[in-house]
């Protein structure tokens, strides 16, 4: 803090003083405004970063395109960009890395499409969130040195960075700066871009498509996304406070939070009050994959608590905590799944603990009642009674 103050005093304030001095001709008044950084992490970002390439064109009304022009532009776009199924690699394929202890693979982008019940083989009902793996490609790879030099590169701690984009869109709706991001990979411009940290041996060539085959059933994953935006809420809905009474002479006090005063005659920082709720980044750690439908690219993870509403984008990557990292016996493909016609994936795979829907009903086995051997004394007693 003191360093910041000295810098403030040394630079801006002195300048302002010197500017003011000849005008006033007297001693200048110092209006010192100090901005403190909040101790709490920033909860949500309202505007995109100023150094990001602007995405959408604001006004498309001046295009003045006839129908013929539109068709022509479509044809040009089809020629320039690769179609979703087309081979995306426009240079020699990179060598495929091998797995070592501590390697980190890329993640994939998915859409939350719903929550359904599933039943375990014990008969227990659990809820599973369905995540639909979008059509997506690798856009860029940055090696650790390059990535460390970027703005937030220090957070990577020696990892490289893989930028993945999902869901192709019409290129005419984007600005040129945004379209330039996709030149290297040659894929159609994407709606959603995300960053994944990887070790250099898990690097992927720009243009590589990613599929649900990236994961295996029974493994644990982390899920990262934004929670539902609930807007401005009162204290009762935001924090579950009790509010006031409904009756008994209460007026205008049904939804208020009640007393908020703390010690020392002031309100403590971080007091729970009404305000904006949701639309915050959250990480769900270590959820199990119960089932994967490889045909339609749908991953079922255990639990109803995947963040966001239906249709929201989430990022899925391997769990990082040691107990839940992929194990030797169920190792997912490294660095990712490359589809091979000779060895196609099965259509639908269930975890061992889950009851498949086409299997017959669950029947519990009868326990065999074991007669306990009587102790010697008790046996003698029983014999004597007879």
């Amino acid at each position: 803090m003191s360093g910041l103050l000295t810098r403030l005093f040394s630079s801006q304030l002195q300048i302002s003083c010197s500017r003011l001095a000849p005008l006033a001709g007297t001693q200048c008044v110092q209006h010192l405004q100090i901005r403190e950084k909040s101790t709490k992490p920033k909860r949500r970002k309202v505007h995109p970063f100023h150094w990001w390439a602007p995405k959408n064109r604001a006004d498309m009304s001046e295009d003045l395109l006839t129908e013929k022009n539109q068709v022509f532009l479509q044809q040009v776009a089809e020629r320039i960009y690769l179609a979703p199924g087309e081979s995306p690699l426009n240079e020699e394929p990179w060598p495929i890395g091998t797995y070592q202890e501590g390697s980190r693979r890329t993640g994939i982008i998915a859409k939350k499409i719903g929550v359904v019940p599933m039943w375990l083989k014990s008969g227990k009902r659990v809820l599973a969130s369905m995540l639909h793996v979008c059509e997506q490609n690798v856009i860029t790879y940055m090696d650790p040195e390059t990535y460390a030099r970027t703005r937030f590169g220090f957070r990577g701690k020696g990892h490289g960075c893989l930028i993945v984009g999902a869901e192709s869109r019409d290129p005419t709706r984007f600005r040129q700066e945004y379209l330039d991001l996709f030149k290297e990979s040659g894929v159609a411009p994407k709606k959603k871009l995300t960053k994944f940290l990887v070790t250099p041996n898990a690097a992927l060539q720009p243009g590589t498509p990613l599929f649900a085959g990236h994961f295996k059933v029974g493994n644990y994953v982390n899920i990262y996304g934004k929670t539902i935006d609930r807007g401005f809420l009162g204290a009762k809905r935001r924090w579950g406070m009790k509010g006031g009474r409904a009756t008994h002479g209460t007026t205008k006090n049904h939804n208020r939070m009640g007393a908020m005063g703390g010690p020392r005659g002031r309100i403590l920082k971080g007091k729970k009050m009404g305000g904006h709720d949701g639309q915050e980044r959250r990480l769900l750690v270590g959820v199990k994959i119960l089932r994967i439908n490889y045909k339609h690219g749908v991953i079922y993870v255990r639990g109803p608590s995947v963040m966001g509403e239906i249709g929201a984008f989430v990022q899925i990557y391997d769990a990082l905590i040691p107990e839940k990292r992929p194990k030797e016996d169920n190792m997912p493909p490294f660095p990712t799944y490359f589809p091979a016609e000779t060895d196609p994936l099965p259509e639908d795979v269930f975890d061992e603990t889950v009851h498949p829907f086409d299997a017959p009903s669950i029947e519990f086995e009868q326990e065999v009642q074991v007669k306990r051997k009587l102790k010697v004394k008790a046996r003698a007693k029983a014999a004597g009674k007879r």
């Binding site: 039943w119 008969g123 439908n293 829907f357 299997a359 669950i362 029947e363 009868q366």
Partner: protein, 280 residues
């Protein structure tokens, strides 16, 4: 064009109407409908669980398709017969804590709720002068057998008012044998009208426009108030109707799969059911 929109409106209203309405108003209306619409109407009453949730903000076509696949494959594994609210049923489930590891409950189906794999049904019966209700997940794999003892509908779509009616109206004998019913044609409507217990009730039933109640045992002021708070204009609210109904184009996708399922799997189930009856 006009006739199409009229039929669509009639159908959409028909889909929400109760079984009883089918009997009086609906039958007249449905007889004039084209074949495919009549079928959609019948199936939506027969398989309410196979239709997706009508809330547009929560719908997703991939999810619905996969959910439907799961439901139909479960229906392949176990015989889930046709039943309605008001039917007498017996359900056997695996139970870890029951003697013989099985538990059977017999009762009257008082409501069905939720869409897709979440679909649930409630059975009600009187056990030792105590009203008992069991809520079952229709697609749970612990269900071993579902038997319809008497296939019928009642005058109302929701029989939760039986909780506040005299106990004899929700009593089903435990040793009831399955009654034979016609496999073709309309489902019989049981026109029993119940006598309510004196208040207090779990809900204000006099405000629910029930048809299956004979004696309310209430003073006039309750009915006056019911008229005051009633919203008779709501049945003309087209947007409300639209919001609580799955569009017909989406329904046809479902019913097409159901037709296929009925022709193959359900026929087989029916044959095995008949064989069992003959053996017994």
């Amino acid at each position: 064009m006009a006739s199409w929109s009229l039929t669509q409106r009639g159908l959409s209203r028909g889909l929400r109407l109760s079984a009883s309405m089918h009997a009086s108003y609906g039958r007249r209306m449905t007889s004039s409908l084209p074949e495919h619409l009549r079928k959609a109407l019948a199936y939506s009453a027969m398989y309410p669980d196979l239709l997706p949730e009508p809330d547009l903000t929560r719908r997703n076509y991939v999810r619905e398709m996969l959910e439907r696949q799961d439901m139909l494959s479960r229906r392949r594994a176990i015989d889930i017969p046709e039943f309605y609210v008001g039917s007498y049923m017996s359900i056997t489930v695996s139970d870890q804590n029951a003697p013989g590891k099985k538990n059977t409950f017999v009762g009257i189906c008082i409501y069905r709720r939720n869409h897709g794999l979440r679909h649930q049904m409630a059975l009600r019966n009187i056990v030792e002068n105590e009203g008992i209700e069991m809520l079952y997940d229709l697609y749970s794999p612990i269900i071993l057998e579902i038997k319809v003892l008497r296939l019928q509908k009642r005058l109302d779509d929701d029989l939760r008012y039986l909780r506040d009616a005299l106990p004899e109206y929700s009593t089903v004998p435990w040793d009831m044998e399955p009654e034979p019913h016609r496999e073709q044609g309309s489902v019989p409507v049981d026109e029993t009208r119940v006598i309510m217990k004196p208040r207090p009730w779990t809900q204000r039933w006099e405000r629910k426009e029930l048809k299956g109640v004979k004696e309310w045992g209430l003073e006039d002021r309750f009915f006056k108030r019911a008229v005051e708070v009633s919203k008779p204009w709501e049945k003309y609210d087209l947007m409300k109707e639209y919001r609580c109904m799955v569009p017909l184009e989406d329904q046809y996708v479902v019913w097409k799969e159901v037709e296929e399922h009925r022709k193959t799997i359900e026929e087989e189930h029916k044959r095995s059911r008949r064989r069992k009856l003959l053996d017994a």
